[in-house]
Subunit: 220 residues, 2 copies
DNA sequence: CAGTCCATTGGTCGTATGGCCAATAAGCCC
DNA sequence: GGGCTTATTGGCCATACGACCAATGGACTG
């Protein structure tokens, strides 16, 4: 995710103490920092976003991170939003399939565990927002975006007659509640049973008036 | 929760540097420590269980906590198990009501938000178990106990004809998945809408073949 | 080419953590 | 009552964190 994996250091040895100083445009550097923090959040957890960790990943001194984010907490929040937004695209492909196929893709993506990093991040943020009000706000925002996307699919499906004429807002909230319920086990080492694996699909079919198995069959 | 809130210090001023040294039976002291840690976990979060915080709550020196828990992490795990187990009793009253009433009580207890501390603790543990394998194990154990309790109610209800003849294991897992989904919003400042508030009841009624509203009516 | 701005560095400070250890004293046993 | 076990203390250490600041030097402007 970081736009430049490691800043190319001029001659000298790899970690030469006299390593060259690379000056970048503020916007570019800021992007780099947020990207690095988002990457850390995804694969090590948000509490691992420290000035030192981010700086090291970028081959830069910790003070520089402080320069861009005087309050480290703000970086954490921004990193979450970025990581969350970028992962969302994997869930909701912007192609032109039918509503039921798009919903099936969404459900399937999760049953296969392809969203594990995002699920972990989500759980992480849900807990951490207990201590970081700004993160709570960012979480609500990202949640609203998800609900919006899902509601769009559901509305299309109801219009096309694929789904029963249920309240879109209720249905999307229920499905996302099922997603959260399933996701809350993401860090568990227990084997994933059929009930948990199929919960989102079951809830979706129940609340949308589909016959059991309809989503799985829609994958084609 | 701590059996003795603050150890009575002999004469002298409250925080006298020459405060008396109180020697307790190891088992008793150990209980005290776990209780204090559990209390901290419930109202401040498990990451706030530190040697110093626990020691201060007991009016004792941090080194004493280390004496009983050479690895602080073990205290965290034990504190979680204790807090979780003690809160469980509030959910599953051991009285002699009908299955549907017991289930209704369980659902109602949550809709009213009476289980907020436990929900927060649960979310806390679900996230933290990512980094603490022993906590993951404890979490699975507590989860199994919950499922056992709930399954007992469901089995009774099916036997009595109150619930449809569904698979008990599937039903209890689904209901607890709904609980987890709802609980994942416990730290959100967003107002709790009707959909989220009623999700557990809706899922329970759906999966147990009850008519909508049956649980709410069973409260009497 | 000289001057200015500010991105970047290197270093320091205060705080908090878990862990370790020797000294102390409380209470039990003989 | 004397001695022994060990619960408890007080102190120290290494580490990691966020924050702050003066000095440096890269790049742009005139």
């Amino acid at each position: 995710m970081p736009s430049s994996p490691v800043p190319s250091r001029p001659p000298g040895r790899a970690s030469s103490p006299t390593a060259g100083r690379i000056r970048k445009r503020p916007e570019e550097r800021r992007e780099e920092i947020v990207d690095a923090a988002a990457a850390i959040a995804l694969d090590a957890g948000m509490e691992r976003i420290t000035l030192r960790a981010v700086a090291e990943r970028l081959g830069v001194r910790p003070g520089l991170i402080t320069h861009y984010f005087p309050a480290a907490e703000d970086l954490v929040v921004e990193a979450f939003s970025r990581a969350s937004a970028s992962e969302r695209e994997l869930f909701f492909p912007a192609d032109e399939r039918t509503p039921i196929q798009r919903l099936a893709h969404f459900v399937d993506h999760m049953e296969r565990g392809l969203s594990a990093p995002l699920a972990r991040l989500w759980l992480n943020a849900q807990h951490l927002s207990r201590f970081v009000p700004a993160l709570d706000a960012a979480l609500q925002q990202q949640d609203a975006l998800d609900r919006e996307r899902l509601s769009g699919i559901l509305a299309d499906g109801i219009a096309s007659g694929d789904f029963a004429e249920v309240d879109v807002e209720t249905a999307s909230q229920r499905i996302l509640l099922a997603v959260d319920g399933t996701g809350s086990y993401i860090n568990s080492s227990a084997e994933l049973g059929a009930v948990r694996r199929g919960f989102v699909a079951d809830v979706a079919e129940w609340t949308l008036g589909l016959e059991p198995g309809a989503l799985r069959r829609a994958l084609g």
